[in-house]
């Protein structure tokens, strides 16, 4: 006998998913919470076994409310399909789960740009560095440069400094217009009782050199990262020695599950593809709610609020007015932040013919250029088909944003939502063994 479907399946146990699961359970719904990680918390509350993370009280508060929730950790949802009763979620190494509604909170991953030297050992995505620090407490280097754009560079720089790494510089590509004092907005602290971390103060205390309007154009080294080349807005250049380079260019939302269910997507201020939701976190697909980073990058507190709002909307709660206002405010703030921190428009000019764009398939920029100029590829889809970027193991998670931008630029335009969609759909969402597919 097939078990009764759950009222709701929440995918992802980051701030958004935890907020959704806690609120849905509180409203009396039968909830299943599925997450790829062994420990709940997502990107924000990533922690070592027995360890603690930032704003831990808020995390503990949420965890206490998950008593009635069926939790399936360490499992990836690789396929979601719609059927008569609702949805069937197929999981790696676990029996499928059915539910009448889904709240998708899959978060995102580091957005990467293939600048020359980015594939040298010692160069990492900022989120990856942060994850290493949170889970293992160590950094793979002694002298670091943190570069890119946006507020997420700050926690990484501070965390590195705290771990005993000499942070030689933080290079922020854009001018900073006041947000440095309060980088995550009024919603920054998931719990009002906890003070927002004052990153600027922390950096000053540790004498971290913070350069604005400064871009990283190249990483140099013989077999591994040895130095970075920075260029300021006035054109002056400088080389700074570093054996660890943390690059943060924002995030790319995970959209494979929303797209699988036919939810519409759109282009956000920061050039990312995001899921379309209404003021109550409903997607354009019936019964599919989406919250957190997948609807637009906005930090942990906004993700949490969106997750809660999705659950309350689903539960039919009449008490969502305040939360809706908070989400609206948070989104406005996040949108302003995204506008303030664009990827530098000229980054594609730093590429050389041999700069590797897709690391899985080892496709250099020159092949993308030939696909456009010789073979007539006029969008990202055609570039992918003709030159193979994004066709390898990560299925374009790493190079999709960059390839879309490059394809557009080679055709004299900027990337559109369609360019990005060429890299956002993935079936299965994660690689699955043939025998598991055969038994699905």
């Amino acid at each position: 006998m097939t078990p009764e479907p759950h009222d709701v399946a929440v995918v992802g146990a980051g701030p958004a998913g935890l907020g959704a699961a806690a609120e849905a359970a509180g409203a009396g719904l039968d909830v299943v919470l599925i997450d790829a990680g062994q420990r709940p918390g997502g990107q924000y509350w990533r922690h070592a076994e027995g360890g603690r993370g930032q704003h831990w009280k808020a995390y503990e508060g949420l965890s206490r409310r998950l008593g009635q929730v069926r939790r399936i950790p360490g499992t990836q949802v690789w396929l979601i399909t719609r059927d008569q009763e609702g949805f069937t979620l197929r999981l790696t190494g676990h029996d499928p789960v059915t539910a009448r509604a889904v709240i998708l909170c899959p978060g995102g991953y580091d957005r990467q740009l293939p600048i020359p030297g980015w594939d040298l050992p010692g160069v990492m995505a900022a989120g990856g560095v942060q994850a290493l620090l949170k889970e293992h407490g160590t950094a793979p280097g002694r002298r670091a440069v943190v570069a890119g754009t946006g507020p997420f560079l700050l926690p990484v720089a501070v965390a590195l400094a705290r771990a005993g790494v000499a942070v030689a510089a933080v290079a922020e590509a854009n001018p900073v217009t006041g947000w440095l004092r309060d980088p995550f907005g009024a919603l920054a602290a998931p719990s009002k009782s906890v003070e927002a971390v004052r990153y600027a103060a922390a950096m000053t205390a540790r004498r971290v050199l913070y350069r604005t309007r400064t871009v990283i154009t190249e990483i140099v080294g013989d077999g591994r990262a040895e130095a970075v080349r920075l260029r300021r807005a006035d054109g002056t250049q400088e080389e700074i020695a570093a054996d660890l380079v943390a690059l943060g260019w924002g995030f790319t939302p995970s959209l494979e599950l929303p797209i699988m269910l036919g939810a519409e997507t759109r282009l956000d201020e920061d050039g990312s593809l995001v899921a379309v939701v209404d003021g109550s976190q409903r997607s354009t697909a019936d019964g599919v709610y989406i919250a957190g980073e997948a609807t637009g990058v906005g930090g942990a507190a906004l993700a949490l609020a969106e997750g809660r709002l999705a659950a309350l909307t689903l539960a039919g709660s009449g008490k969502t007015a305040r939360l809706r206002r908070a989400v609206r405010r948070g989104r406005r703030f996040a949108a302003a932040m995204r506008r303030a921190c664009p990827v530098p428009a000229e980054w594609t000019a730093w590429l050389t013919e041999s700069t590797v764009v897709c690391r899985c398939e080892e496709v250099p920029y020159g092949e993308l250029r030939r696909a456009c100029h010789d073979l007539g590829a006029d969008d990202a889809r055609a570039v992918k088909m003709l030159a193979r970027p994004g066709m390898g193991w990560c299925q374009g998670r790493m190079c999709g944003f960059a390839t879309a931008a490059i394809a557009a630029r080679l055709n004299g335009r900027v990337a559109t939502a369609d360019d990005l969609r060429a890299f956002a759909a993935r079936v299965p969402a994660f690689p699955v063994a043939l025998e598991d597919l055969a038994e699905n």
Partner: protein, 379 residues
């Protein structure tokens, strides 16, 4: 704006036609509403097969096409990863083996090279043991279809063709019955002849000229595995039941995958056949069957991971034959569409035949079985 020939559609069929027409000296303009190979040509596989075809006009066209890929286009094969790796068809039961043997005999009589194989494992070391019999088809080959389409168009451009992407044909220019060009969103293009190479959408294009060409979508899913060591799978391998599936008119889901390695190391497992209109929703049942059958043929693949799947819509006609040639109902309009699950393979022969017919050269094959108006006669 005028041309000798306007080709509607920049899929592999339109590309091959543009290549052979420009090579025959025609001034060609290709008009495509999306990008290069935006349709089915980028959503299928690149098998060039004679092995799966029963004797008849399609097999004749396949043999002509394989020769065209090998000879007329042979100098360029490297551009589209042409590889004549051969096909291996296996049967698991004595009945299957008998059916395979009689098919092979009939094919041989039509000019197909085929050798009986007592133990298929001699050809494919990773095949499941205990298969009843096999047949080896050395002519079977493969190309990368998007590269084939893109390079054929590039070569056509070098021979004077003009390629207009993002340009949808919205109607035809007429002089009485005569088709004298196309209307597009941007401009009218007058032409001596217009070729409908719009693949699965060819029926809609034909309708713009008020003629019926019954091309419909037949959905297929393909699985792509993680890269495997060279030589894991050497041929195009499939079970004998596949041939029955290809020829079947059944709307139900049918599977019997062709398993093959690619230049990049990935293994392609495809494809299903199912008539469900243009439905893009993922079918767990289709994925399950493909995976199960591939794992049964090649136990080594059991633990190999599938990185992605994709789907496409084959352009099929009720009698499973393509539509190739001039349309007497709308003089000046020609068709090259409806190649179903073999359009990549058949594109070279189709292009060759059309260029011959358009320039009045002697035909390498009789076009009568592919006549555009044949469905009216039947009705």
């Amino acid at each position: 704006m005028s041309a000798d020939l306007v080709v509607v559609g920049a899929g592999v069929v339109g590309a091959a036609c543009a290549y052979f027409a420009t090579s025959a000296g025609l001034r060609v303009t290709v008009v495509e509403r999306g990008g290069i190979a935006a349709g089915t040509s980028s959503a299928g596989e690149g098998n060039l097969l004679v092995s799966d075809k029963e004797p008849g006009p399609e097999l004749d066209l396949a043999l002509l096409s394989l020769r065209a890929w090998r000879e007329d286009l042979g100098d360029h094969g490297g551009l589209w990863e042409y590889e004549q790796k051969g096909g291996l068809v296996v049967a698991s039961s004595p009945e299957g083996a008998a059916a395979l043997r009689s098919l092979a005999a009939a094919q041989r009589a039509c000019g197909v090279e085929v050798a009986e194989v007592a133990d298929p494992v001699d050809y494919e070391p990773n095949l499941a043991p205990g298969l009843a019999a096999g047949a080896h088809y050395p002519q079977d080959a493969q190309v990368q279809p998007m590269l084939a389409a893109a390079h054929l168009l590039r070569l056509a451009r070098e021979r004077g063709a003009e390629i207009r992407l993002r340009t949808e044909v919205t109607g035809f220019l007429r002089d009485g019955d005569q088709v004298t060009g196309v209307r597009t969103a941007h401009a009218d293009i007058s032409a001596g002849a217009v070729l409908n190479a719009a693949g699965t959408w060819a029926g809609e294009v034909a309708a713009l000229a008020e003629v019926t060409v019954p091309v419909l979508p037949r959905r297929g899913f393909v699985l792509v595995t993680q890269p495997m060591p060279v030589g894991t799978i050497r041929h195009k391998v499939y079970a004998a039941e596949y041939v029955g599936n290809v020829a079947s008119g059944d709307a139900e889901l049918q599977t019997s995958p062709v398993v093959e390695g690619t230049r990049s190391g990935t293994i392609l497992i495809g494809a299903t056949r199912e008539r469900v209109g243009f439905d893009r929703t993922v079918s767990p049942e289709a994925l399950r069957r493909l995976a199960g059958q591939a794992a049964a043929l090649f136990p080594v693949l059991r633990s190999v991971r599938v990185m992605r799947s994709y789907l496409g819509f084959r352009p099929y006609c009720p009698d499973h034959l393509p539509v190739i040639g001039p349309d007497p109902r709308a003089p000046g309009l020609w068709h090259a569409c409806g190649h179903e699950g073999a359009g990549v393979g058949l594109s070279a022969g189709t292009g060759l035949l059309l260029a011959q017919a358009l320039t009045g050269a002697p035909a390498a094959l009789d076009l009568a079985p592919f006549a555009p108006a044949r469905f009216e006669a039947a009705a």
